[in-house]
Symmetry: C2
Subunit: 372 residues, 2 copies
């Protein structure tokens, strides 16, 4: 980790650099001047980011003033084969060549989708991520995982493929509402829980509405994510610590799309997943009851309860079975040993998962009773 | 290149081995026994290869007897996003995990499609190619290029991604008709023209209906393809010699799908592309007239003429513009300096391409007059 005179932190994540701070966009301008013909630059964004972030991007990066914006609808539904197909066709209509560059300006949906499209258009063009959400800045934009959803499974289709660079312009956080901020905070909490007890405490105690207080925590979370990716770029082992909360979280997220409820955001689903998986950690004798109670109370104070019934357990467990993290047909979880330390590949039976879901439903019922 | 006691030749192509001969399938059996759980093996094929080649594969490779066959329609139309989507969904329904293996049993369509699907399912599972066509054995299955067609553009979407191995079981050539054999011969001719004058002569003089005479030429062509891929796996430079005949060939192939005519096979289109591009080589002062006449006469004796009009030139040139081989918006061709030697990235104007197409139309008209 290096900090330059202009207060830009430089990290390395597996196969790509991450620049973070309030002055990273001029660095993107300089890189583009040397690397990319302006007529072959495209900026992928959604209706929010093209309206609220693109003007600021263009002010700092004039090289992109002749780039063509490509807009996709905001939200997870854009991570689809159909939307990917439309972007491939659009690039082809514009005669984009192998030297073309795609700038992904948005949150995790945009960088997952754009990274996949860039990685497969004409067998691969270059891409750069400019995350605009907290989730993007601390997690999704970093580490070269790309993906789209198919057959109702999140990230069923995707690639490990590094962007040329990730430019984290922290002031974009100003454009976010509270729900979007909390969405990213869930991953920051996870980073603390699996790797860094001090970071967990700092995130728990920070005034989250205060961007000045949040900024150094964004740096720290991006650094934790980058460090884990460096140790294991292709998720052969240790990178799976980042899956804490995600096995149950992904299933709940997919379940929320299938059911009548409004869809959960990724971070909201992961927060509930972390409650369940911290409980499993305690039940397996790994985590102390005190630590579990602390984590559960913290997460429940930030995230609204999610409703499902015992009848949904079967479907939720089926969704977990199709999660990429399984091997040999068993359910394998990343669990906590203590706050700040995780253990990967812990086998868990479907019955134990059912107990965790039962436990969460009781908590959620109590929470609704107290805050109807 | 090594030849084992059992007459299997081992090559290396960029990032994967190629085994070729009449005894390669037992090697696949041994590899699978160590590497792949039988319940997570899938065999992708089309209606022809699953009927005519799968029984022979299973006889030599009993490990695959419990593998699940996945059938796609025969022909280029299967290289589509829709078919890829169906296979992703099928693998997901069968709970295929990251340790799963896809065996691509077929020609170029199957290995291009299967390689792409395997490279993207859950961010990548392993694949093995068992080519059943001459085109697959000498070209498509080797070198890690995968792709599907989209927006009417051949291979618009794809990856560079190595299979774990390519097993060229030459006896599968028995299952092919004359048109399928000639389809692959076009690439063998190309290998000779761009790299090896002796090989070109041998292919020109060989009795193509005699599989015993063809077999050593298959070895030689696979070796040329592998050697070029070794020099330049990602097609940054020298690998583009293999594009000879393909800039005009791909455009003709796509044009034949759009028009009322029956679609050209890839090799048929490349054969015509080679006539046009050899003519351009002569016009640019690179190739002698004698060499051009020899090549043109040879190709015209093997492949039927293709009909189009001067009105089609505009569309054909537009299709070439969207070819992956262009840079800076110019049309760049691989041309011949002499038989056995090629030059990449030669700029050619649309007017010159138009002249080449005019020239070919005259040749085709004469050919139809003599053999109506």
């Amino acid at each position: 980790m290096r900090t330059s005179a202009r207060d830009v932190e430089e990290l390395w994540a597996g196969g790509h650099p991450v620049y973070i701070g309030a002055h990273v966009l001029p660095m993107l301008q300089r890189w583009l001047e040397f690397e990319a013909p302006p007529t072959q630059c495209f900026v992928l964004g959604d209706s929010n980011t093209l309206r609220h972030c693109l003007p600021e991007l263009l002010a700092f990066v004039p090289h992109l003033q002749h780039a063509e914006p490509i807009e996709v609808p905001a939200g997870e539904s854009s991570k689809s084969i159909d939307v990917a197909g439309a972007i491939w066709g659009h690039l082809s209509d514009r005669e984009a060549e192998r030297g073309a560059l795609l700038v992904n300006l948005g949150g995790g949906v945009v960088s997952d989708l754009g990274g996949f499209v860039a990685g497969t258009y004409k067998r691969g063009i270059r891409s750069v991520n400019v995350p605009t959400t907290l989730m993007g800045m601390v997690d999704a934009a970093i580490g070269g995982k790309t993906g789209i959803d198919a057959a109702g499974i999140k990230n069923l289709v995707g690639l490990f493929r590094d962007p040329k660079g990730v430019y984290v312009h922290v002031p974009f956080l100003r454009t976010l509402g509270k729900r979007e901020l909390l969405n990213g905070v869930a991953e920051m909490i996870k980073h603390g829980l699996v790797r860094d007890a001090d970071h967990y405490r700092a995130v728990r105690e920070a005034p989250l509405h205060d961007l000045a207080a949040l900024a150094p925590l964004v740096h720290r979370s991006a650094a934790i994510k980058s460090a884990v990716v460096n140790e294991d770029p292709l998720e052969g082992g240790v990178r799976r610590v980042l899956n804490f909360g995600h096995t149950i979280g992904h299933a709940l997220e997919a379940h929320s799309w299938e059911s009548q409820q409004l869809g959960l955001l990724h971070g909201e689903a992961v927060a509930i997943g972390m409650i369940c998986e911290a409980w499993l950690s305690w039940r397996q004798g790994l985590l102390s009851r005190e630590a579990y109670d602390l984590v559960q109370g913290h997460l429940q104070s930030l995230y609204k309860p999610y409703s499902f019934t015992a009848d949904d357990h079967h479907r939720l467990i089926a969704l977990m079975r199709n999660d990429k993290k399984n091997a040999d047909g068993a359910l394998r979880f990343t669990l906590l040993r203590e706050i700040g330390q995780a253990m990967v590949d812990v086998p868990v039976t479907p019955a134990q998962v059912g107990e965790a879901l039962d436990h969460y439903r009781l908590l959620a019922r109590d929470a609704r009773r107290h805050h109807p």
